[in-house]
Symmetry: C2
Subunit: 187 residues, 2 copies
């Protein structure tokens, strides 16, 4: 819980006491590279916090892996649509490096929220931030050309290029690996 506790404390000012209570509801889990936190078609029943490693979200469209997000240390992973609406997930969430995560079951979240109301605020803020971020990605996909999207990512999240294979980055940018190579070669 090396990262979770400081995260809860500095971003949401939970008390020592609340943090301990929350911490006791997480189960820690190791995932090897290429193992899955969630597979498409399955029901997402929990939320996890990344202590170490990174993950991609992807869906299969027309037989191809289409990446829609990355997650690193201090990020949460879960699939909203599946978790909230009890539907099978369209998305896979897969470890790209060996990872350590802290997992909480959805039923425990509900119980815990009753004793610590501020958890509701955490939930709200997360959703609002995800919405704002997703809006940015959509705006870039609609309004910038591939080369500009590449440069934006390179400037804003350079670590992505250190940790994620290029063909996944290409997919995230909405282009083919060959096109990403072409763009990089121009520089």
């Amino acid at each position: 819980m090396n990262k979770l506790k400081p995260y809860l404390q500095s971003n949401f000012s939970f008390s020592e006491n609340e943090i301990e209570k929350m911490a006791s509801c997480f189960v820690s889990k190791s995932l090897k590279k290429k193992e899955y936190f969630l597979r498409a078609g399955h029901y997402c029943k929990n939320v996890a916090f990344i202590e170490k490693g990174c993950f991609i979200y992807y869906e299969i469209i027309a037989g191809e892996e289409k990446v829609c997000d990355f997650a690193f240390e201090n990020d949460w992973i879960t699939q909203y649509n599946s978790l909230l609406n009890n539907t099978p997930s369209q998305f896979n969430i897969c470890a790209i490096e060996n990872a350590e995560i802290l997992v909480m079951d959805v039923s425990k979240i509900a119980a815990l929220s009753k004793s610590i109301p501020k958890i509701g605020m955490l939930r709200t803020e997360l959703a609002e931030n995800y919405f704002i971020e997703s809006t940015k990605r959509a705006s870039q996909l609609a309004n910038l050309k591939a080369e500009e999207r590449y440069e934006t990512l390179l400037n804003e999240k350079p670590e992505t290029f250190q940790r994620i294979p290029q063909y996944h980055i290409a997919s995230y940018l909405g282009i083919k690996p060959q096109s990403l190579s072409r763009i990089r070669a121009k520089k």
Copy 2:
């Protein structure tokens, strides 16, 4: 409040009493076609519910209007990033038809939330739904070609084509008006 009250009752099961209390915090407002609910550069300080009419969200990028969303009756309009983080809005929210909206000031929302805790749930669910929707739009922009995005919109929200000018729809789809015409001509 012809639409707001049934909306609150059927989607969130607020009580008669709560609904009256909430209703008293809204101010109704008429906007003519082409008038703005929010202008880019201004601070968004309220949330509104659409009783009648429709709106577009757009930002200016490289001198061009880039539409990122539409809103119709029973939708809310506000700009999250500006409202939550107290920053100037990047987006304009503009009436496309003469409209009737119910506006609530952000300070009243906070006050009201204290006396009606369930409002927190409304806020959370809205953000979560917006996130899910925004994710879908981003996925389409990244993974479908313009023609497929056009067909998806035509199937899922046909009313858009009845009420929104095509050049705004083209922008929302991430293409130029000429390209949308070309796609339509093929059918």
